[in-house]
Amino acid sequence: MSEALAGLHRPYRVASIRLENAATRTLVLDRSLAADPGQFVMAWLPDVGEKPFSLAGADPVCLTVAAVGPFSRALHTLAVGDRIWLRGPLGRGFAPPSPAGHALLVGGGYGVAPLRFLAERLLAAGWHVSAIVGARRAADLLLVEALAALGVRLWLTTEDGSVGLRGLATDAFDAALTAAPEARTTVFACGPVGMLAAVAALCRTRGLPVQLAWEAHMRCAVGLCGSCEVGAGWLTCLDGPVFPCDPTVALPMG
């Protein structure tokens, strides 16, 4: 994790911009980064600030950004050719076990952002991939066409029932499992903490291995400041952001 590349910010330029939904766009940058899905970068705009973003792609680097605060709104003002500085990749990403089996991806809200990147990697490694994509309403769904275009079998849920199953992403869990191919299922989830805890509980009762991409208030991102502690002593920046367990339940060893 201390490899020179992870340390200093390096400038990238915006190569293209993809509009994902009304509030979300993907910045496609001009270079690639050796990184795993689930890892994150600290994005810096001088004189504005620095925030964590999960990688939505690594070759080239993509950041899928919802305009939810001052910094993400500033990212939405970037035009093609503008610069953005990144340090990373940081943290531990998704680590698909071998041999390849069936992957059930569960994404809620903006948490869907890294799942296209993950789906691409899994498919390339020979996995069967299905995904549940959940959002509050149809207009908030993210990356549905992109995942479908990869050949990922999709279940959609919306809380208002405007598209797909009415309810939460976890409400489609059993349907997605029932339709799964004859292969060992590993669950990969990214989304709000409540959804992640629910996914972890479902996997526990069904005996399924799970990898959860956690979200936390991130400051130093180098394991010093303690801001990103989750549960009883896990550091999201170093131990995560992807955990092979529910970090609010399990204890870190050392």
Binding site: M1, S2, A4, A6, G7, L8, H9, P11, M42, W44, P46, D47, G49, E50, K51, R83, W85, R87, R219, C220, A221, V222, G223, L224, C225, G226, S227, E229, G231, A232, G233, L235, L238, D239, P252, M253, G254
Partner: protein, 328 residues
């Protein structure tokens, strides 16, 4: 022959018996009882909480830290919940640390000499095993004026105020004063705090520095300046500990750039009584303590050392070495 089957890393520090000479340095993951307990489970012999001041502080905006290649730079900005809340956290940390046999160090800072005494009295309610007085945070200069570590007079005044504030307690905890490396004569500062009643010295805090991004034409840290730690700090810290060990008879928590067991041995040889570990958490994870312990033990076995005490002060000039062995 020494019996190496008997926990060769166990050592004494003040009145405390530590199972390892490694001390979690202040400002590194010491923000919660659970993180302090994790460092202890990983193998730290003693753990230091994040510095707290009189009132809550949010700290500086991002970027607050990064790895610039030769080490880390940080300007977290003394984020803390204030002394009252910190005392509750320290009490909970003590409860978690007790079964592990790992002593707890509280760390305090303040804006005035009098406030140092007040904060010390508040955190002392939690009965920490040691209070570390941080007179040397390099990252809050605009708010607190020149750090107190810069002059012997101000360093002594803070030490004295803390000692007086604790004197009325039935069992006042010992006090270690944390010194800055960026002073013309650190031995003078060490002597001043020793004469003012410090029980130990922590050396050193981070070294003030700056990282500029040439393409952005800006300092990277939002605070512009920060404290350098990690590998770049190690030679600076070794020299400071070496000077202090010859100037005073107090035990020293030697801190700065220790990433490996051999680094820890070097710090002990410079005159440290125990060894602070901080940035190693970035380079090696929280598991760093277990790794450094194992490496130090391997080094000691390979070189024929039977105890941590045997390493202390070995690199000092002969006269100072004998004097140090007799006193610390």
């Amino acid at each position: 022959m020494h019996d190496r089957t008997k926990a060769p890393l166990a050592c004494d520090f003040l009145h405390l018996r530590l199972r390892s000479p490694l001390v979690l340095a202040s400002g590194i993951i010491g923000t919660s009882p659970t993180l302090l307990a994790r460092a202890a489970r990983s193998g730290a012999g003693m753990v230091t909480a994040k510095s707290c001041g009189p009132t809550p502080r949010a700290g500086h905006p991002n970027p607050v830290a990064l790895d610039w290649g030769g080490g880390l730079i940080n300007a977290i900005g003394l984020t803390n919940p204030g002394a009252e809340h910190e005392a509750a956290l320290l009490a909970e940390a003590k409860r978690l640390l007790e079964p592990l046999g790992v002593p707890l160090v509280a760390s305090i800072f303040a804006g005035t000499v009098a406030e140092f005494g007040q904060v010390a009295a508040v955190v002392a309610q939690a009965q920490p095993d040691l209070i570390e007085v941080n007179i040397s945070c390099p990252n809050v200069g605009d708010e607190f004026g020149t750090p107190f570590a810069g002059l012997p007079e101000s360093a002594a005044a803070v030490t004295d105020a803390v000692r007086r504030a604790l004197a009325s307690l039935p069992q006042p905890p010992p006090v270690s004063v944390k010194l800055a490396p960026n002073v013309p004569d650190i031995a003078r500062i060490a002597r001043a705090v020793a004469e003012a009643g410090a029980d130990a010295i922590t050396a050193v805090n981070t070294m003030p520095g700056m990282v500029i991004d040439a393409e952005a034409a800006r300092p990277v840290l939002a605070n512009r300046v920060g404290g350098i730690s990690g590998p770049a700090l190690k030679p600076v810290a070794l020299r400071a500990v070496y000077e202090i060990a010859q100037a005073v008879d107090l035990p020293i928590i030697g801190t700065g750039g220790v990433l490996t067991g051999v680094d820890a041995a070097e710090m002990l040889m410079a005159g440290a009584t125990v060894v602070g570990v901080g940035s190693a958490v970035w380079y090696r994870g929280v598991e760093a303590f277990a790794q450094i312990n194992a490496e130090l033990q391997q080094f000691m076995a390979a070189q024929g050392y039977g105890s941590v005490a045997e390493l202390r002060g070995l690199a000092l000039p002969p006269a100072a070495r004998e004097r140090r062995c007799a006193h610390v």
